[in-house]
């Protein structure tokens, strides 16, 4: 049984070339949701100081609207049965789209994967993949 927990971090919206050049501490998982949008899990505003100085129009705010859980290979295989589209083969990779009909994201790495979705969808996602 999967348990989704709140993912705390920061949301960084800035010019794509600034986000391309951004660096993050090792403990931070930075998910590139869109060319101009990053959700940096376990990051603080101080970690994005470089972005703020490089782009005066950047938006950096605390983000706690996502829930997620880490998956091992077996759990990931179970989740992928609920996906209609093809996940990329390269790692790491962020994939986004419907998982069991619920808008969700999966951060794929060689060791483990992170399933996450916006918190209002958490109950639906859990019900459908359990």
């Amino acid at each position: 049984m999967l348990a989704l927990n709140t993912l705390r971090g920061i949301r960084v919206v800035a010019a794509p070339h600034v986000l391309d050049a951004a660096t993050w501490p090792a403990h931070v998982t930075a998910l590139r949701i869109a060319p101009d949008d990053i959700f940096a899990i376990e990051a603080t505003e101080a970690d994005a100081a470089g972005v703020a100085s490089a782009d005066s129009h950047s938006i950096i705010v605390d983000e706690h609207g996502f829930v997620g859980c880490w998956l091992d290979h077996q759990q990931l295989e179970h989740i992928t049965r609920h996906i209609e589209w093809h996940a990329p083969l390269h790692r790491p990779a962020l994939v986004q789209g419907y998982v069991a009909g619920v808008p969700a994201k999966i951060w794929l790495t060689d060791e483990r994967s992170l399933l996450l979705c916006a918190s209002p969808y958490a109950a639906d996602l859990m019900e459908r993949v359990s």
Partner: protein, 78 residues
């Protein structure tokens, strides 16, 4: 099922997207700025053939993108 190619997320079923309508074009023959605004907002071409449309990937990256859709065959070009 119709699939759209999101430039950020890749190929996804159309259920993941919201339709944003035609990308409006205003004929050059309309020169008055106010009339151009009215045409832009209200007048749709409803083409039979290649229609340039805006789609919103609401289940993924939540970004707009533009596609060319053939309204006769429903085939889509990114």
């Amino acid at each position: 099922m119709l699939w759209l190619s999101c430039p950020n997320c890749g190929s996804r079923p159309i259920e993941e997207f919201g339709f944003g309508g035609e990308l409006p074009t205003v004929p050059d023959r309309i020169t008055d700025p106010k009339e151009r605004d009215i045409d832009y907002v209200w007048m749709f071409d409803n083409l039979e053939g290649i229609s340039i449309e805006r789609w919103f990937h609401q289940a993924g990256c939540r970004r707009w993108h533009t596609v060319e859709r053939n309204t006769i065959t429903d085939s889509v070009e990114p």
